[in-house]
Symmetry: C2
Subunit: 449 residues, 2 copies
């Protein structure tokens, strides 16, 4: 590992953690304001903390029913927190991508008009403006479409737009919270609502650098045919959609004779597609995942564990990490140590980093699963599912999260935190003072596997 960027990198991680902790603190306070709650609601500190962490990390796991707990002002506060969390995360993720630009290559850095010379703070502000305007645009369009359409479901325009607004914010930020009381289950037969949600979910989870490159591509009229997408964009976008397709196909296959028995092809198709898309990071669902078989629940757990694109609102090990790990195995089996894809070669540092992420993630989620199995009375399938959902900051649930003990809730909070900041940042956090690596010992080979 080259140590060149350590100083910058370390402070970036500190920036994320600082943002995360202060945002959680403020959110805990905001969500605990008396007028944010419906009358008669009991409000415990651990539930406030859990909801704040879940909202800031846009996970969407809940220990209390959002609709039964929060008043209308409370729902607006929650929507604000989701905004703040989603945009904050995207901004910081992308900012680090820019700061690391020297390693990533000049080209990508120039994709965004952030002038590094003006100093990092003004660059950060400008970047946040760009992301904010893009996200707000998505949310506005989503609110208008869903608000108008929801007049079919809700008696007043006010109620329709209130629901449309929250649904749009929750989908775009991939927050997974709902004020219907049962996620998108009321719209299980409404393919229009689902399609709008799918589009918003994908726009939020596909990663800001990808969005910027697509924007650039669309506005480069004269030379659109010569526009070159970065390797990162190609890799993450391909993996993102491949996971959605494979996930949907697996769900269709595994549930053919179970949940989909007796259902029409278009019903089955939309159930499978929506639940596959939502595993990237959405966390919304058009059904109770408990109705799926254990095999499908395991597949969904794995998909959540993989998660979304880097520099998006999503968590997990990230699409690029998964893709690079798979590619490395494939090329290793072919006898090559260089991984070639899209006419580019991966850097060995990125390969090593991917494996570090995968192995650490497996260790951490595995430990959390064992720990929760020891302290909680729930079936191991439900525990695996909730842990993967927390690490992927997905927010799908088999329903045990509200029943967890305090120590169980803290474990899920911890997993949401790690899923959110990412394994690499987490490992950098653990790092104390970086020692030089200037001495060497003789190399010696050992037998592997």
């Amino acid at each position: 590992m080259k140590l060149r960027n350590n100083a910058i990198r370390l402070s970036s991680v500190q920036l994320i953690v600082l943002f995360y902790f202060s945002a959680v603190f403020i959110s805990t306070v905001l969500l605990s304001l008396p007028f944010a709650h419906r009358p008669g609601v009991e409000w415990h500190f651990i539930d406030a903390l859990f909801t704040a962490v879940s909202a800031i990390s846009v996970t969407g796991l809940t220990v209390v029913s959002t609709v039964d707990t929060f008043s209308v002002p409370g729902v607006f506060i929650l929507a604000f927190v989701l905004q703040f969390g989603g945009i904050g995360i995207m901004t910081l993720g992308t900012f680090i991508w820019l700061v690391m630009g020297k390693k990533i290559g000049l080209k990508e850095r120039q994709l965004i008009s952030t002038d590094q010379n003006r100093g990092t703070l003004s660059g950060l502000v400008q970047l946040m403006k760009q992301i904010l305007s893009l996200i707000l645009l998505f949310e506005l369009v989503g609110t208008v479409i869903l608000g108008l359409y929801f007049h079919n479901y809700f008696p007043t325009w006010g109620e329709a737009f209130y629901q449309g607004f929250f649904a749009s914010v929750s989908a775009t930020t991939n927050a997974g919270f709902d004020i219907t009381g049962e996620s998108l289950i009321p719209f299980a037969q409404d393919y229009f609502v689902q399609t709008i949600n799918i589009i918003l979910l994908i726009l939020g989870a596909i990663g800001f650098p990808v969005l910027i490159e697509i924007k650039d591509f669309m506005f480069s009229f004269k030379s659109a045919s010569h526009y070159r997408f970065s390797l990162f964009t190609k890799l993450t976008t391909f993996t993102f959609f491949a996971l959605i397709v494979i996930g949907a196909l697996l769900i269709l296959l595994l549930e053919k004779n179970h949940f989909f028995a007796g259902k029409s092809w278009h019903e089955s198709f939309f159930y499978a597609l929506f639940q596959s898309v939502t595993t990237r990071n959405g966390g919304l669902a058009t059904m109770d995942i408990n109705e799926f078989t254990v095999a499908t629940q395991l597949v969904i757990s794995v998909l959540m564990f993989i998660g979304a694109s880097p520099s998006s609102v999503g968590g997990g090990i990230r699409t690029t990490t998964f893709a690079i790990s798979l590619l490395t195995i494939f090329f290793f089996a072919k006898g090559h140590s260089n991984v070639k894809i899209f006419k580019r070669e991966l850097d060995q540092d990125d390969i090593r980093k991917s494996f570090v992420v995968v192995f650490t993630a497996v260790l951490l989620t595995g430990s959390a699963i064992v720990f929760l199995s020891a302290v909680e009375p729930f079936p191991v399938m439900a525990i695996i599912f909730e842990v993967c959902s927390a690490f992927g900051t997905t927010g799908l649930s088999l329903g045990i999260t509200p029943e967890l003990s305090t120590v169980g809730k803290v474990t899920i909070i911890f997993m949401m935190f790690i899923g959110r900041i990412g394994i690499i940042s987490f490992l950098f956090l653990l790092r104390g003072k970086v020692e030089g690596d200037h001495y060497h010992y003789p190399k010696e080979r050992v037998i592997i596997g």
Copy 2:
């Protein structure tokens, strides 16, 4: 990856697979001989194949009760097959270690007096002689001690030595088969029998190269203090015993208020120690693992997944793979890309190989777990356990293996095969003609995790 040794490596893998398939074929025939069965036993081809694969890979998972199915001659045939499997595996594993000697270093190669110039076949024969004599020595000592001692349990000397012989063979080869009908449960209170078994299990699973180095160390009278163990021996032995200690401590901790409630400290200690040792590869047990909590069953699954030392009778990802992966994360978090341990530096190729093994193993066991969940009606915990047991060629069971459908049994057979030959060999098997890797594309960085 350097391609220097590809030709040799590929033929080594072919050698293993050739050995494995012909050994399984012969064993299936031998175990199907009519006089090998007790009167009235129904014998299906899939059960014959399963038993042969389990015996040749010294796994010990069973679809039929050994004691109820096999006659006395049948038990001797089984013992022979275990011998053949255990010694064959150790020989081939070590042989490849020697053939790869050029990469591993001259020193280790010289540890065994195999003269490469005499050609690989005579080297193989000589090596097999060494391993055979060592294993037979262990088994003979084990048989004598257990046979004499078992007179306390069995009415005749004949029965005592029959039981002692099989127990000794099963422990030394880490086969995990038993003719008591209930593993070592009859000896749950007998610490002497357990201690002898633990010693034999460790001698079988610690790896032949380690045994050879220990022998060398003991016979190098003049310069014992200057004897340098290889990095491989230090790393694998340390990890081997660390896993046993950590496993026992975790079992003690997790079962303190459950299985160990009301049991004396020495009873608890031996239960925890034996069950921890047996996860390396033994597969024998002094209790029904179903009596442990789910958390302990998960821990045992992970320990089996890790498995034993390379070039031993054991399977799994192997101790070295696990150790190197952990060390790499640790040094990565410190900001170093070089991994230093025991005053030596690991080769980057070995690091990459370790991660390839871990990731492939996670993918394969994960897929097997999902697949079995889809086709079998059993709880996911039991499926996770049996798959890890098969991949680790451990043989512990929560009892569902005999109930599996044919396609389920084939899945377990496949996992035993991969666990046995190892992930690296498996990947080399998949490799077709090795293409040159002489062209290059520009490098481009991507965002990870």
